[in-house]
C-alpha cells in the first residue's frame, strides 16, 4: 500500500523584512531546517515518495547557495521527491529550475515535474499527473489534461497541482490558477495533492492542501504540518494523517488596557505563549508610569523567550497618576508641562505629546535615582 508525504509552499528564500535582522535570519533558516525534518520523517515513515505541490522557492533568482542548500536539506530521504513548479517558481524559459539543473544541484531522486506529462513509478505502484505552472500568470485550469491522461493499469493515479480550488477558498486574490473541485472525479485520481493555500485543508476526501510546513505569516489557518497519506488500493479513500512539523507558531495579540489589572492579565497572557513563537503584540488604552515600567520589564523578559517579539504601543497613552507626578518631584513649571502633555495625548499631535511625556518622565526618574544615590 503506497504511502506518501504531501507537503507544499516551502517558500525557500523568503526574507522577513519587518523583523529584527537576527530574527529574520533565524526565521529564514527555519524554512530550510523544516525540510530536513521532513526528509527525516519521510525516512522514518518509510514513505514511497514525497509530493511537493509547488512554490518550493519563493523567487526565481534566489542565490546559487540557497538552491544547493535546499537540495542538500532533502538528503536524508533517498526515495523519490516529486516537485512541481508553483506561481513563485514557475517553470519559465529561464527559471530557478533551469538554474538548479545547470548547477547540477538536483539529485537523481529529485524529480522535477516541469511539464504536464505523466510520470510513472511502476515499481512503487503509482503514477504522478503533474500540473506545473509554466507561465507567470495562468488563467486556465492546468489540471484539465488529467481527464484525458492515460496511465498504466494498476497504478495509482496521483494528481499534483498548485492553485486555488474554485468556489471553496474565501480569498479571491487568486483568480489565477483555478482548479476544479471535481477534478479527482473527472480524472479518476486517487489523490490530488494541492499547494498554494498555506494552511492544511481538506477539500474532499481525495483532495487536500497540505499547507506550508513552517508557518510564514500571522494569518492562522492551521499551517505548520505535513500530510502522511496512505492509499490502500486504487479507488479507495486515502487515509490522511496530519503531522505537525513546524517549529515557530506565529501569534498575534491585541489588547486594550484600562486599569492596572488589565496589565497583569496581559503579562500573564504573554507568559503563557509558547517559546520560539513569533509574537506580534498590539496595545492600546492607558497606562500609568508605574505600569509602563512593569510592562517594559515584562516585554524584555518575553523577548528572550520568543523567537521574535514585535510590539506596537502607539495606541497606549501615558497617564501619570498624582503619585507618579509627586514621585517625580516635578515642581513648578515642570509639573505644569507634565500636565499639559498628559492632556494632549488624545487627538492630533498625540503621538509627540506621548513621546515627550515619556522622555520627561524617564529623565525625572533618572534624576530621582541619581538624587537617591547622591
Amino acid at each position: 500500500m503506497p504511502r506518501f508525504l504531501h507537503t507544499a509552499d516551502w517558500q525557500i528564500g523568503r526574507q522577513y523584512a519587518s523583523f529584527a535582522p537576527d530574527d529574520a535570519v533565524a526565521l529564514a533558516e527555519a524554512r530550510i531546517s523544516v525540510i530536513e525534518r521532513i526528509a527525516g520523517l519521510a525516512t522514518e515513515e518509510t514513505v514511497d515518495a514525497v509530493l511537493v505541490a509547488g512554490d518550493v522557492f519563493d523567487a526565481q533568482t534566489v542565490s546559487d547557495r540557497t538552491i544547493r542548500r535546499l537540495f542538500n536539506a532533502m538528503a536524508a530521504y533517498t526515495g523519490p521527491w516529486i516537485l512541481i513548479s508553483g506561481n513563485h517558481d514557475a517553470a519559465l524559459a529561464e527559471s530557478v529550475w533551469t538554474r538548479a539543473q545547470r548547477l547540477e544541484a538536483v539529485p537523481a531522486n529529485a524529480h522535477l515535474a516541469l511539464t504536464p506529462e505523466v510520470m510513472e513509478f511502476g515499481d512503487a505502484g503509482f503514477a504522478i499527473l503533474p500540473a506545473p505552472l509554466t507561465q507567470r500568470h495562468t488563467m486556465s485550469d492546468l489540471t484539465e489534461w488529467f481527464d484525458h491522461a492515460e496511465t498504466t493499469d494498476g497504478l495509482l493515479r496521483i494528481g499534483l497541482a498548485h492553485g486555488s480550488v474554485q468556489g471553496i477558498l474565501a480569498e479571491d486574490e487568486n483568480a489565477t490558477n483555478p482548479i476544479s473541485p471535481e477534478r479527482y472525479q473527472s480524472a479518476a485520481l486517487d489523490f490530488l495533492a494541492l499547494g498554494d493555500w498555506h494552511g492544511t485543508k481538506q477539500i474532499n476526501p481525495h483532495t487536500w492542501y497540505s499547507g506550508t510546513p513552517e508557518q510564514d505569516r500571522f494569518r492562522g489557518n492551521d499551517p505548520g504540518n505535513v500530510l502522511l497519506v496512505d492509499i490502500p488500493e486504487v479507488g479507495t479513500e486515502p487515509q490522511v494523517e496530519i503531522l505537525p512539523i513546524g517549529r515557530h507558531p506565529w501569534i498575534q495579540m491585541s489588547e486594550h488596557l484600562a486599569v492596572s489589572s488589565d496589565l497583569d492579565q496581559l503579562i500573564g497572557n504573554i507568559e503563557t505563549q509558547p517559546e520560539q513563537a513569533v509574537v506580534a503584540l498590539r496595545l492600546e488604552g492607558e497606562i500609568s508610569l508605574l505600569g509602563k515600567q512593569q510592562l517594559e520589564r515584562a516585554l524584555s523578559v518575553a523577548e528572550a523567550r520568543f523567537r521574535s517579539l514585535g510590539y506596537d504601543l502607539s495606541g497606549l497613552s501615558l497617564q501619570p497618576t498624582e503619585d507618579d507626578i509627586a514621585a517625580l518631584h516635578a515642581d513648578g513649571y515642570v509639573g505644569d508641562v507634565i500636565t499639559e502633555f498628559r492632556d494632549q495625548q488624545e487627538g492630533e499631535g498625540g503621538e509627540v505629546a506621548r513621546d515627550a511625556m515619556a522622555i520627561l518622565a524617564s529623565m525625572l526618574l533618572e534624576k530621582q535615582a541619581q538624587g537617591g544615590d547622591g
Binding site: 522577513y16 533568482t61 524559459a93 509627540v352 505629546a353 513621546d355
Partner: protein, 877 residues
C-alpha cells in the same frame, strides 16, 4: 526697616566712640572730606551684619597699630514695630548680643536671626565675600561699585526668590534649568538649532535614502530579468514554430522554379539575339551589295569626272607656261633698271665726295695762310721776348735795394736838415778873402759854414780858432750821416748806378720791360698755346694734308649739269630695288605655281588612267551580275529572319522575364531573410541565455529580499529617531515656554518699578530686564526715533544711574513683599553730569518716600537740594 542709632568704637580712626543718632526715615546725608570716616561708618554697619563676631579676618576694623583694640559696633533699628538692638565686638573680645523687643539672642543665634531677616549668608570661614551678601549686597552700594549690577543680583538671587514669594514658583527652578539643559543636549544630538536633522538622525535618513536607492535599482534589474525571461520564452516559441514551418525551404524551392523558367526564357532571348545578329548581318550585306552595285555605277561617272579634271589640269599648266617668258622679261628689265640706278647713285656719290674734298682743300689753304702768319708773329714775338729777357736779365735791379736806397737818401736828407739845424754855423763876413781858413780851406766873403765836426779856423796873423761843435747830436748825426753815406755808396755800387734817380729810372725801365715781356708772353701764349714747336708741327701737318688732297681730287670725276643728287639717286635706286624684288617674287610664284600645276596634271592623268583601266577590266561585268543575284538572295533571308524575330519577341514578352527575375530575387531574398532571422534568433537566444544565467547566479531576488530587510530596519530606525527628535523638540519648546512665562510674571512688577524711576530720568524710556531679572536693554526716545542700547555698552555714568535705579526697583519689590529695605549709598553717582544728577536726585527723593537711604558723599555741594540737612562726619570725632 528704619535705622535709629549707630555707634562705633575702637574702629579704625574712631578710637573714641562716635555716635549717630536721630536718623531720619528717608534720606540721611553724610558729608565729609576724604579720610573723614564716611566709609568707616559704612564698614561698621556692614561688619555688624556680615561678619561673624568670631571672625578673625576683620583685622581691618582695628585702629592702626592697636592690636589690643576691641572694635565695637552698636546698632538700633526698628522693624515691623519691633525694636532691635545689636551690639557686636570683634577680635580681642568677641561678642554678639541682640535683643528684639527685649527678647535676647546672642552669638550664632543672633547672627542667624539677622541673616534671615535681611536675606544674606555668612562665610563658612574667613571674611565675608560678595557671594554671601545676598539682598543687602544689592542695596548697600560700596564706593566705586555702583555700576555693577549683574553680580549682586546673581548673588542675591536665591534670597530674592525666597523673599518674593512662593506662589511665583522658581524662576530658575534648578530642576527646571537642569532639565532644559539636558533636553537641549539630547536634542542637539539629533537636530541642529534650526531644526534640521543632524548626527545619528541625519545619518539614519541618509541610510534610508541610500538603501532605498539600492533597493529600487535592484527592483529595476529584477524587472529587467523578468522581461528577459519572458523574451526567452517568446523566442523559444518563435523558434520552434519556425522549425516546424521551415519557410526558407519553401522559398528556395519556389525560387528554383522561377529560376528554371527564367533560364528557359533566357535561352529564347539568346536565340533572339542570335537571329537579331543574323538579321543585322543580312541587312549589312544587303547594304554592302547595294553599295557595290551603286559603286559600279558611280565608277562610270567618276571616270568622266576624272577626264574633266585632267583636261582642266592641262589647261592650267599651259596657261602658266605661257606666262613664263613675260615674267622672265620683266625680271630682266627690272634687273637692268636696278643696275642703272645703282650706277647713277655711285656717280652721284662720287661727285659729292669731290665737292667735299675741294671744300676741304680751300679750307686748309685758308688755314695755312692764317697759321703761317701766326707762326711768323709767334716767332717774332719769341725773338723779341728773348731779347727782352736778355735785357731784363742784364738790367736786373733789385727794387728792394732801391727802396732801401730811397730810404737812405731821404734819411740823409733828413740828417742833413738836422745837421743843418744842429750844426754849428759859422757865419762870416770877411773883408779879407785870404786870411781866414777853415781846415785849410780859405773862407771868403759872406757865407756860412756848418760845422759838424771840429774845425780849425786859422786866421792869419791871428792864430787859429778851434771850433768844436757841441752836442752829442752833432756827433751822432755825423756818425749816422757817415754810415748812411757809406750805405748809400754801397747800395749804389750794388745797383750799379750812380744815383737814386738813375736807379729808379732803371727800375722803371725794367718794369716797362717786364710789362712788355708779359704782354708778349701772353700774346705768344694765345698764338701758340702749346708752344712754337707745336704750332710749327700743325702747320706741317696741314701742309701735308693739302698735298695729299690734291691728287685725290684729281682722281674723282667732275659733276655734270644734270646729274642727279645723291639723295635722288638713292631714292631711284631704292625704287629700282623694290621693283626688282617684286619682279623676282612674281617670277618665283609663277615658277611654283607651274610646278604645282604640273603635279596636279600628273595626278589627274594617273587617276584617269587607272580608272580607265579598271573600267576596261574583263571581269567587271561578271561581278556586277553576281552582285545582283546576291542581293536578291539576301532580301529573301531578311524577310524570313524578320518574321522569326517578331514571333519570338511575342513569346518572350508573354513569359515576362522581368517579373520572373524579380520573383527569383524576391524569393531568394526571402529565403535568406528567413534563414537570417533564424540565425539571429538563435544568436539572441544564446546571448539571452548567457545573460540570464549570469544574472540568475546573482540571486537578485534574494539580494533584494535581504536588502528589504535592511531597508525596513533602517526605516524603522529613522522613524524612531524622527519620533524621538520631534518629542525632544516639542519637550524643549514646552519647557522653555513655561519657564519664560514664569519669568515674565516676575519681570512685570520689576519692570514697572524700573520704568517708574526711569521716567524721572528719560521720559518715555524703558529698561528691559532679562530672564534673570538683570537689566539688559535701555530703550529711549532719541532724535531719530527709538534708540536701543545694551546695558553693558552704556557709559560709566549711565550705568551707575541705571544700576541705582534697578536697586531701587528691587527695593520696591522687596518692600511689596514685606521685606526690610535699608539702602546705603557710599559715594554714588560720581560720574553723573549736573543734568543727570538733578534727575537722579528726584529719583532718590521719590525712593526715599518708601525707603530709608543713607547717602555718604564728599561733594556736599552736589547734594544741597535733596531736602535734608547734611551731617558732617568730620564733626563727629
Amino acid at each position: 526697616m528704619k535705622l535709629l542709632r549707630l555707634k562705633a568704637e575702637q574702629l579704625r580712626q574712631f578710637r573714641a566712640p562716635v555716635e549717630i543718632k536721630d536718623l531720619e526715615p528717608g534720606i540721611n546725608l553724610f558729608t565729609g572730606p576724604n579720610e573723614s570716616g564716611k566709609s568707616t561708618l559704612v564698614r561698621a554697619i556692614r561688619a555688624a551684619f556680615f561678619e561673624r563676631h568670631k571672625s578673625s579676618s576683620v583685622e581691618d576694623l582695628q585702629p592702626w597699630g592697636d592690636s589690643a583694640a576691641v572694635p565695637t559696633v552698636e546698632l538700633d533699628f526698628e522693624w515691623e514695630e519691633q525694636s532691635w538692638k545689636l551690639v557686636k565686638s570683634f577680635l580681642k573680645k568677641k561678642r554678639c548680643d541682640l535683643t528684639v523687643d527685649g527678647a535676647p539672642y546672642s552669638g550664632d543665634d543672633a547672627e542667624e536671626k539677622l541673616s534671615s531677616l535681611l536675606g544674606y549668608e555668612f562665610a563658612a570661614k574667613g571674611a565675608s565675600k560678595q557671594q554671601h551678601w545676598g539682598i543687602p549686597g544689592l542695596l548697600w552700594v560700596e564706593q566705586g561699585a555702583g555700576q555693577e549690577i549683574q553680580a549682586p543680583v546673581e548673588h542675591a538671587g536665591q534670597h530674592l526668590k525666597a523673599a518674593l514669594g512662593g506662589n511665583l514658583g522658581e524662576v530658575t527652578s534648578s530642576t527646571g534649568d537642569e532639565l532644559i539643559n539636558q533636553v537641549t543636549a539630547e536634542r542637539a544630538k539629533l537636530l541642529t538649532t534650526t531644526g534640521k536633522p543632524t548626527g545619528n538622525y541625519a545619518k539614519a535618513i541618509a541610510d534610508v535614502e541610500a538603501l532605498q536607492d539600492q533597493f529600487d535599482a535592484l527592483q529595476d534589474r529584477i524587472q529587467q530579468y523578468r522581461q528577459q525571461v519572458d523574451r526567452l520564452g517568446q523566442l523559444r516559441e518563435e523558434q520552434s514554430q519556425a522549425e516546424t514551418e521551415r519557410l526558407w525551404e519553401t522559398y528556395r524551392q519556389q525560387a528554383k522554379e522561377a529560376e528554371a523558367r527564367l533560364n528557359e526564357v533566357e535561352s529564347w532571348q539568346r536565340e533572339q539575339d542570335r537571329d537579331q545578329q543574323a538579321f543585322k548581318g543580312c541587312q549589312t550585306s544587303i547594304q554592302t551589295t547595294l553599295e557595290l552595285l551603286s559603286g559600279f555605277h558611280s565608277q562610270q561617272q567618276d571616270l568622266a569626272r576624272r577626264e574633266d579634271e585632267k583636261k582642266a589640269a592641262e589647261q592650267q599648266q599651259a596657261d602658266l607656261e605661257a606666262r613664263k617668258p613675260a615674267s622672265e622679261a620683266a625680271l630682266e628689265e627690272a634687273k637692268q633698271a636696278h643696275e642703272a640706278a645703282r650706277k647713277a647713285l655711285k656717280l652721284a656719290q662720287q661727285h659729292q665726295q669731290r665737292k667735299e674734298l675741294v671744300r676741304e682743300l680751300e679750307g686748309i689753304d685758308a688755314e695755312l695762310v692764317n697759321d703761317k702768319s701766326k707762326l711768323a708773329r709767334a716767332k717774332a714775338l719769341h725773338a723779341s721776348l728773348l731779347e727782352n729777357r736778355q735785357k731784363q736779365q742784364s738790367q736786373q735791379i733789385d727794387p728792394q735795394t732801391i727802396l732801401r736806397l730811397k730810404e737812405v737818401v731821404s734819411a740823409l736828407d733828413r740828417l742833413a736838415i738836422q745837421q743843418d739845424a744842429v750844426a754849428t754855423r759859422l757865419q762870416f763876413d770877411l773883408t779879407d778873402d785870404h786870411s781866414v781858413t777853415l781846415d785849410g780851406q780859405s773862407l771868403a766873403g759872406q757865407s756860412e759854414h756848418l760845422l759838424i765836426e771840429p774845425g780849425e779856423v786859422a786866421i792869419k796873423g791871428v792864430g787859429s780858432l778851434r771850433v768844436l761843435p757841441g752836442g752829442e747830436d752833432v756827433a751822432e748825426i755825423a756818425r749816422a750821416k757817415q754810415s748812411l753815406t757809406d750805405e748809400q755808396e754801397s747800395l749804389l755800387t750794388r745797383l750799379r748806378v750812380t744815383s737814386l734817380a738813375e736807379a729808379e729810372e732803371r727800375l722803371k725801365q725794367l718794369q716797362t720791360l717786364e710789362q712788355a715781356i708779359q704782354q708778349d708772353e701772353s700774346v705768344l701764349k694765345e698764338l701758340a698755346p702749346e708752344g712754337l714747336e707745336a704750332l710749327s708741327d700743325q702747320l706741317q701737318l696741314k701742309q701735308a694734308r693739302k698735298d695729299a688732297l690734291a691728287p685725290q681730287i684729281q682722281a674723282l670725276p667732275e659733276q655734270e649739269e644734270d646729274s642727279p643728287s645723291p639723295s635722288r639717286a638713292e631714292a631711284q635706286q631704292e625704287s629700282a630695288a623694290e621693283a626688282l624684288a617684286g619682279a623676282q617674287a612674281a617670277n618665283q610664284t609663277l615658277k611654283s605655281e607651274l610646278l604645282l600645276a604640273e603635279q596636279a596634271l600628273n595626278r589627274a592623268r594617273q587617276e584617269w588612267e587607272r580608272l580607265s583601266n579598271e573600267l576596261q577590266a574583263p571581269d567587271r561585268k561578271q561581278r556586277e551580275k553576281q552582285a545582283g543575284e546576291q542581293l536578291a538572295e539576301l532580301r529573301t533571308n531578311e524577310r524570313r529572319l524578320s518574321d522569326q524575330l517578331a514571333e519570338r519577341e511575342a513569346q518572350i514578352k508573354q513569359a515576362n522575364p522581368d517579373a520572373l527575375k524579380q520573383d527569383v530575387q524576391r524569393l531568394t531574398k526571402s529565403a535568406d531573410a528567413a534563414e537570417k532571422q533564424e540565425e539571429s534568433r538563435r544568436f539572441e537566444l544564446i546571448q539571452l541565455q548567457a545573460r540570464l544565467e549570469s544574472a540568475g547566479a546573482e540571486g537578485l531576488e534574494e539580494q533584494s529580499a535581504e536588502l528589504k530587510v535592511e531597508l525596513d530596519r533602517a526605516t524603522r530606525r529613522k522613524r524612531e529617531l524622527e519620533r524621538h527628535a520631534n518629542a525632544l523638540d516639542f519637550l524643549l519648546a514646552r519647557l522653555t515656554e513655561h519657564r519664560l512665562e514664569l519669568t515674565r510674571q516676575l519681570q512685570a512688577p520689576l519692570q514697572k518699578h524700573l520704568n517708574h524711576y526711569l521716567q524721572l530720568l528719560f521720559p518715555e524710556a524703558s529698561l528691559n530686564v532679562d530672564e534673570n531679572l538683570i537689566p539688559e536693554v535701555l530703550v529711549r526716545q532719541g532724535h531719530g526715533g527709538e534708540e536701543r542700547g545694551q546695558f553693558n555698552e552704556l557709559s560709566f555714568g549711565a550705568r551707575e544711574q541705571m544700576a541705582l535705579i534697578s536697586r531701587l526697583a528691587y527695593a520696591d519689590l522687596l518692600q511689596e513683599a514685606n521685606k526690610p529695605t535699608l539702602i546705603i549709598l557710599d559715594d554714588a553717582l560720581v560720574h553723573s553730569d549736573a543734568e543727570r544728577l538733578k534727575a537722579m536726585k528726584r529719583v532718590l527723593y521719590d525712593a526715599a518716600q518708601r525707603h530709608q537711604i543713607l547717602l555718604f558723599t564728599c561733594h556736599p555741594d552736589n547734594w544741597r537740594d535733596l531736602g535734608v540737612v547734611a551731617r558732617d562726619v568730620d564733626g563727629l570725632m
